[in-house]
């Protein structure tokens, strides 16, 4: 009979220890998850301005070349007299040649592809932040549930575990943003 009692005490002790450990581990993982959100925010802060600068750089490069072509073409249009026209046409041919050389030397230099890359990186960065917050909320829900559900709420109350706060968003940021794609002229 005494062995049965000792057996019950032993099993109860194991359950108590494992519940306490689970609650503690969850609390620490929640702290970690909160900091992981900060990691993603910092990544966005560091990465995005540099990406935008690099894309602007590419577009500027192409813009100069294209501008020369456009200028040469309009020059060719307005020139009068054969000599002037000939030299304007030569200038146009030359600048077009520059464009073709550009395309051959830098086959990746398509501003469209760079903009697509920038879009993908922006989407990825924002998604990472969102998923990090989602994970944090999931952990907090798990932790709070464990504190309130029947067997473990006794342990939680005894050792004074506090519920954690979910990640919340201020009202202003919940509004639907307006997308304006008009070109500024």
């Amino acid at each position: 009979m005494i062995y049965v009692i000792w057996g019950i005490v032993f099993v109860a002790g194991i359950w108590l220890i494992s519940t306490y450990n689970t609650l503690t581990a969850l609390r620490l993982r929640i702290d970690n998850a909160w900091r992981q959100i900060d990691v993603q925010l910092k990544r966005r802060y560091d990465l995005i301005p540099n990406l935008i600068e690099s894309v602007k750089g590419y577009m500027q490069f192409e813009q100069d070349t294209l501008q020369k072509v456009i200028d040469a073409r309009s020059q060719a249009m307005v020139s009068k007299g054969i000599k002037e026209a000939a030299s304007a046409q030569t200038a146009l041919t030359q600048s077009l040649g520059q464009v073709f050389a550009l395309m051959e030397n830098y086959p990746d230099l398509k501003s469209n592809q760079n903009v697509l890359n920038l879009q993908e990186e922006l989407t990825g960065t924002e998604s990472r932040i969102a998923f990090a917050r989602q994970y944090y909320n999931d952990l907090v829900t798990q932790y709070n549930t464990k504190q309130q559900v029947f067997p473990s709420n006794m342990i939680a109350g005894f050792f004074r575990f506090q519920p954690s706060e979910l990640f919340s968003v201020p009202e202003a940021e919940k509004a639907l943003p307006k997308v304006d794609l008009r070109l500024r002229s």
């Binding site: 993982r29 998850a33 992981q36 993603q40 592809q113 697509l116 890359n117 993908e120 990186e121 989407t123 990825g124 998604s127 990472r128 998923f131 990090a132 989602q134 994970y135 999931d138 952990l139």
Partner: protein, 304 residues
């Protein structure tokens, strides 16, 4: 595990007369079966993942290709959502759309996606597929299926050995100690055990697939992403040639061209490693709270 122990116990009871007054008191067959299967489990556990990746022809990502960059971003997002460390990401150059996950635990896991899948799916759908694979990793499905298959092998060996020793002279002497009422079901258990354990392994595989689908929705909170991905993969219908029967259960959609996986109903339900893909799509639409879409194949009424 219980089934395995039951088989070992049956062998002990029938052939060694263990639980009767005159036989030995230690259940030798059960213990040796357990020891044997433990050794096999540990051996396969530490070997497995790299072998699978090599057999399929997996290659690391190429940073210059936009789809590969997108895949890397998608896997990172799913690692964040699941709380797992970032797995190794590989690509297989094959037109058949499919994906799988391997690895003994979270820290040494790998996800592999075919270029066929990257070509036909958009970002949300790829994310659904990757979430499904991440779910397999987080739920330790590779470990579960490994244990199941090792136990399967162990049971087959044990039953084989038991049947062979059936015709030795020891049997006729000791059989008088046991009672016939227990002996007949025990005998049936030993003979049918390879078949029963194979069916159990397939059932486990199917249930883990449903669980991975549900966990994927838990990660992405977007059931339609995975649903549309499964629809597109089903419509593509290409078998993946480098998969073998041993690795087939690791893929998101069964890679082998076997008729049983495309049908629903009695026999197909028992013998398929993956659940019927139409049912998976229907369940995902239900999770989204939408009515089921029009299906190209059979009986909608059964699951309405």
């Amino acid at each position: 595990m219980v089934f395995f122990i039951l088989v070992g116990w049956s062998v002990d009871y029938l052939y060694l007369g263990v639980f009767t007054p005159k036989g030995p008191t230690i259940p030798i067959a059960t213990l040796s079966a357990l020891a044997f299967s433990t050794i096999m489990t540990l051996t396969a556990y530490y070997g497995g993942a790299d072998l699978v990746l090599a057999s399929v022809g997996a290659e690391p990502l190429d940073g210059k290709i936009p789809e590969h960059r997108e895949l890397h971003n998608v896997v990172t997002e799913m690692a964040l959502a699941s709380g797992c460390p970032m797995p190794k990401v590989c690509v297989v150059f094959d037109p058949a759309p499919n994906a799988f996950a391997t690895g003994q635990d979270e820290k040494s896991s790998a996800i592999c996606v075919t270029t066929g899948l990257l070509a036909i799916l958009n970002r949300d759908e790829t994310q659904g597929v990757v979430a499904h694979e991440m779910a397999h990793i987080r739920n330790h499905d590779t470990l579960v299926m490994l244990l199941v298959s090792v136990l399967l092998g162990g049971i087959a060996l044990l039953a084989d050995w038991a049947q062979r020793s059936c015709f030795s002279s020891r049997y006729t002497r000791r059989s008088r100690d046991g009672s016939a009422l227990i002996a007949i079901p025990a005998l049936l258990l030993v003979v049918l055990s390879p078949l029963i354990s194979r069916l159990m392994a397939l059932a486990v595989s199917r249930q883990r697939e449903y669980m991975a689908d549900a966990t994927a929705v838990e990660f992405t909170r977007n059931p339609l992403g995975l649903a549309h991905a499964l629809e597109k993969i089903r419509d593509a219908g290409l078998p993946f040639n480098k998969a073998t029967r041993g690795t087939a259960h690791l893929f998101i959609v069964n890679p082998l061209r076997r008729r049983v996986n495309e049908r629903e109903g009695g026999l197909a339900d028992l013998l398929a490693t993956h659940p019927p893909i139409d049912r998976r799509i229907r369940l995902l639409y239900q999770m989204a709270g939408l009515p089921s879409p029009a299906m190209p194949s059979s009986a909608d009424a059964k699951f309405a």
